[in-house]
């Protein structure tokens, strides 16, 4: 166990994977000499050389397209997109190619690429350094989507992603890259995909969150406890595959659900989660499902503090849910 920040844990995860398997390599903009704009790849080029820590030209479709070619040929590339907001030139490669290779070839061509990208608001990043568009990827069959909320999960989920057989979109909550630190197991620590984590157990209402919203939900649960409301906080950890069993068991117990994400509400991941609860936990619901999300506007710069869900909004929604039935 070593105490470290989330971004350090990402770095340690990459290091662990590269140390263990010469086919693992990292590519992206400024990932080498500079160590990444968030320093997630810091020091890797020194240890593994420029052939395995590749500074690429400024082209996201080039980064993901070449990563796909490498993966088809047998390497295990981890591509970094500097901000999730800049992934769209690579969208065609991710959605049309990466996600479909195995299927469209009848299983002949698995295509295992990990695409890492910092996502989310809270760093005064405005429209183009703040977005949380995980739902696009969740909606694409063939992609797995993982979002850690703790340093230990950052390393554990990343190592699972790199050793997975399928393409993984690995989204890192940059707002808490350094804001949280925690104990991280040494060595090849892996957190299995599809296993949600109950952060805080509770009986009255279930709060579902992921990434940077997990600490927000946890803070809300603490505030609610003072009011006699016992809130359960569940960190989904991977959106695809989703740990439905844990989600449903929680709502079957509490009868109430609040879904939190910083992405815009309409067609966000919360919509899917709400639909699953409506389909499968309907007769356990004592109150309507509440969503606490970003607003359906582009992400604002000066107003990001009011755009992003905070503990007060989450607690407010949970309280209303508990009072309503």
């Amino acid at each position: 166990m070593t105490e470290m920040t989330l971004v350090q844990a990402v770095n340690r995860g990459l290091h662990e994977a590269m140390k263990g398997d010469p086919d693992v390599l990292v590519l992206g903009e400024d990932v080498g000499v500079d160590g990444g704009v968030f320093r997630a790849t810091e020091g890797l080029i020194k240890e593994f050389g420029p052939d395995r820590v590749i500074d690429t030209p400024l082209s996201e479709c080039g980064i993901v397209g070449t990563a796909i070619g490498m993966a088809l040929y047998g390497l295990k590339p981890v591509a970094e997109i500097q901000f999730l907001d800049f992934i769209y030139p690579a969208f065609d490669q991710i959605v049309s190619e990466l996600a479909k290779f195995r299927f469209r070839s009848g299983g002949q061509y698995p295509c295992h690429v990990v695409v890492r990208a910092p996502y989310g608001g809270g760093i005064k990043g405005g429209l183009y350094h703040s977005q949380s568009t995980e739902a696009y990827f969740c909606h694409t069959a063939g992609l797995k989507v993982a979002i850690p909320s703790t340093p230990a999960d950052a390393k554990g989920l990343l190592l699972s992603a790199i050793h997975d057989e399928d393409p993984v979109i690995f989204l890192e909550p940059k707002r808490i890259y350094r804001a949280v630190s925690g104990e991280v197991p040494d060595g090849d620590h892996r957190v299995p995909f599809g296993s949600a984590r109950t952060v805080v157990p509770g009986d009255d209402v279930s709060i579902f969150a992921y990434g940077a919203m997990v600490p927000v939900a946890t803070e809300a649960a603490e505030a609610l406890r003072g009011e006699g409301i016992s809130a359960e906080v569940v960190d989904l950890r991977t959106l695809v595959p989703l740990d439905e069993a844990t989600v449903l068991a929680s709502v079957e117990k509490t009868g109430r659900a609040v879904v939190v994400h910083e992405a815009a509400r309409f067609c966000g991941f919360g919509a899917e989660l709400s639909a699953i609860l409506a389909e499968k936990a309907f007769y356990s619901l004592k109150a309507p499902i509440a969503r606490v999300t970003g607003f359906d506007t582009p992400f604002p710069y000066a107003l990001e503090n009011v755009y992003l869900p905070n503990a007060a909004r989450v607690a407010h929604a949970a309280r209303a849910t508990v009072r309503s039935g």
């Binding site: 390599l25 052939d51 590749i54 690429t56 030209p57 082209s59 479709c61 080039g62 993901v64 397209g65 070449t66 990563a67 796909i68 070619g69 490498m70 993966a71 088809l72 040929y73 047998g74 390497l75 590339p77 030139p89 065609d92 490669q93 049309s96 190619e97 479909k100 290779f101 195995r102 299927f103 469209r104 070839s105 009848g106 299983g107 002949q108 061509y109 698995p110 069959a141 063939g142 797995k144 997975d164 057989e165 399928d166 599809g194 695809v240 595959p241 989703l242 439905e244 069993a245």
Partner: protein
Amino acid sequence: MANAVSPPSAPLDSGATPLSAEQRLSFYRTMVLSRAIDERCLSLQRQGRIGFYVPASGQEGAQIGCAAALEPDDWIFPAYREIGLALWRGIPFRTLLDQFIGNAEDIMKGRQMPNHYGFRDKNFVVASSPIGTQITQAVGAAMAIQRRKAATVTATFFGDGATSSNDFHAGMNFAGVFRTPTIFFCQNNQWAISLPRERQTRSSTLAQKAEAYGFPGVVVDGTDVDAVYRAVRSARERAVRGEGPTLIEAQVYRYGPHSTSDDPRRYRADEELQAWKRRDPILRLKELLLSSGQWTEAKDAALLDEVRAQIAQAIEAAEAVPPVAPATLFEDTFARRTPQLEEEKAAFERLVQEGVIRP
């Protein structure tokens, strides 16, 4: 006019190509087979026996010449108009037809439109429909070859339209930066559906675009199978020597429609087509073979009969294969089904059992 790269029906310059008579004959046989398949598949589509078809007639010289110049270990990243390459790589027509029909023996399991196939054991990567996406992938695979220090190359295939795509530029740029062993093989067939080559780019050739990325680009007469073979062979040797990529622009003409969903009479003149047909790649090779005494009209007629019989036989066999099994839908999205997919598969099977979904 950029299209006129050589005079109609000029004799092939055989002297400079170290090709044996036997090699040329096998080129010819494959080109004839490719053309015959094209013609038959267009009619199968009109009869509703296959859903769609992308013809390659007119491009056989470029395709076979290029395919022959590559080694079996070289990886092909094709577009969807590469039947000549597939046949040269040894993929039987029957296997392609299974894919066109989407029957139970289709290796792609009935998932892709006709002509979107791939065969891992032949290093023939599976094609997709978006234009140009295979180009960056070929460069990435070439980077992997560099890492593996293998004496092989990747070759990627695309048309004149793809030179406007993001991936063309990204791929060319990455290849130049990393000096990858990649052959960019552009079959400039003059038309991107309805858009003529002149409207695709102001560049006087497509090949010259390589210069901006720091590596050579060459124009070759794609109706001259020998010339194509030579150009690709030399690009391959450069790549294996570690000297980096080459862009080859093979100038050809698409005789048929872009696909069976298209009617080229809406946008181009028949005179243009007839002019290109006068220097048809198959015709030119046949004339060379006849004039050198390696071939006779009688043998030619027999070859055509044989090829047509072979095609008919394959059609009969492929059409007798049952349709792809519905439950295969739930294979290969992931290595293992997620719980959600397991649930959907079970629900699907119930609906099939209850007759709500009728495969």
